[in-house]
Amino acid sequence: MIRLEKVSYSYPDGTPALEDLNLVIKKGEFIGVIGKNGSGKSTLALQLSGLLKPQTGRVMIREMDTRDPSKLSGIRKLVGIVFQNPETQFVGRTVEEDLAFGPENLCLPPVEIRKCVDLALAETGLEKYRHRSPKALSGGQGQCVALAGVLAMRPECLIFDEVTSMLDPKSGIAVLETIKKLHRKGKTIVYITHNLEELHDADRILIMEKGKMRLEGDPESVFSDVSLQTLGLSLPSLIELAENLKMHGIVIPWEKTSTPQSFAEEICRLFLKT
């Protein structure tokens, strides 16, 4: 679906953001990207969505080169991106108008725009807020509006750049659930975050440091990698607890560490079976 070939990019002041990065994202994948601030994650997000062009190398989105201006509309329809702060993504006075912005740019006729908007509202469960101002909604709902605004353009691939970092945990979980639902419906997801906890169910995790890929693999192997701490990332507390319990001979299987419920259930099962 998306292919990065030896992509390099430096900020205007000369600091490298990405260095010779190669990456292939397959259709229908859920990829987690994690790294400290300044590791190049956000630059990667902009490259993947064609908003930034590589200085060397190339980014191919379904065989369309992002440097080719004639492919721009095609790329916009295929890849959507949601950013960290919901408030600076709103362009409409009401939710409905905000969602219409993308389809309007695609020059769809009003009837088609309505269809796109209705569908996006349904997929994010925002129907009842249609005529409300997006600013009056809670942070989590606001981020869902931003997501719906992108969905209204019917993209196949969605990129999320730290979309939960400004939300309270409960709203963050709700937003992440909506994203997982979209993934199950076949959308390709690239999910960038600081928070390893959110990547428990990812197909693949990439860890970035200083513009390079440091670690890549499925969540279980990445989470248990000892170099994680040296990269300045903190383990989810349940995983940390599971690791500690292992040293005392209590083994909690990986799948059970995703939620407090499953974790507690597993402990009960282990302790009560004897």
Binding site: T88, V91, R93, K135
Partner: protein, 257 residues
């Protein structure tokens, strides 16, 4: 926070249902008319017409008066200058001030015109969704050769919409920075020169950052500043033509008066 002046009040009246272009054109025509007529009968007729429309809109009168209230001082000032600085038969004499009868008449007329203008504008904004207004303006501007000025009617409309959507965010930012700096002992009243950079610099940086983020979000959603469509279907209905016909009759009537 202030009361929302000139804000949209949703409703289902005939006035709400008219095409925004009809209403914009009507307000423009009535505005011109207000300043063309010079007799009290015309002004009274315009007030009557306004009240008829206001009743038709089904909105409470206070919505419209709210639009006039903040301007009242200004209107009163205009009235006074007319009253005192117009030559004519003196009503009385206070020191150097000599209010004249002609001045009184002129003052009343001018004040009435301003009030009418505000009332009609409030009628438009109260009965029309702001984005429908921008959409209407965009459609009306489309035939104009704006390209020579380096903008398109689409860009203008988007700019208007975004400004409306972005203003509250700006106010929030001002509040936040003000609170943060006040906590560092800044006194905005006593020491304005000292406090301006403390407020302006973080604000500017913040607004620029917000604008950059917004621009990226807009670009990612396919915005190119060129042709775009709109979710609002604008179509002139029978009732729009009827309304314009009635308006024309009214204008002729007032001009004849």
């Amino acid at each position: 926070m202030q009361e929302p002046v000139f804000s949209y009040v949703p409703g289902a009246s005939l006035l709400h249902k008219l095409d925004p272009r009809t209403k914009i054109a009507a307000v423009m025509l009535l505005g011109v008319l207000t300043f063309r007529i010079d007799n009290f009968a015309g002004i009274v007729a315009l007030f009557v017409f306004f009240f008829a429309l206001a009743l038709l809109s089904g909105l409470p009168m206070k919505v419209f008066f709210r639009a006039v209230r903040p301007m009242m001082l200004f209107i009163f000032f205009i009235f006074l200058t007319q009253l005192f600085f117009t030559d004519g038969r003196a009503l009385a004499s206070y020191w150097v001030l000599k209010p004249s009868l002609e001045g009184l008449e002129k003052g009343f007329k001018l004040a009435a015109r301003f009030i009418l203008l505000l009332l009609f504008a409030a009628l438009l904004t109260a009965s029309t969704d702001p984005s429908a207004i921008t959409c209407g303006i965009e459609r009306m501007l489309r035939p104009l050769p704006l390209r020579w000025l380096g903008v398109s009617s689409f860009e203008l409309a988007t700019m208007m919409n975004i400004s409306i959507a972005f203003l509250p965010l700006l106010f929030e930012r001002v509040e936040r920075t003000k609170a943060a700096q006040a906590a560092r002992g800044i006194d905005f009243v006593k020491n304005p020169f000292h406090s301006v950079p403390a407020l302006a610099i973080p604000l500017l940086r913040g607004v620029i950052r917000d604008a950059e983020e917004l621009a990226l979000a807009m670009e990612s959603r396919g915005y190119q500043g060129s042709r775009r469509t709109s979710i609002h279907e604008l179509s002139m209905q029978k009732s729009d033509w009827k309304a314009l016909f009635i308006l024309a009759l009214f204008i002729i009537l007032v001009l004849v008066l």
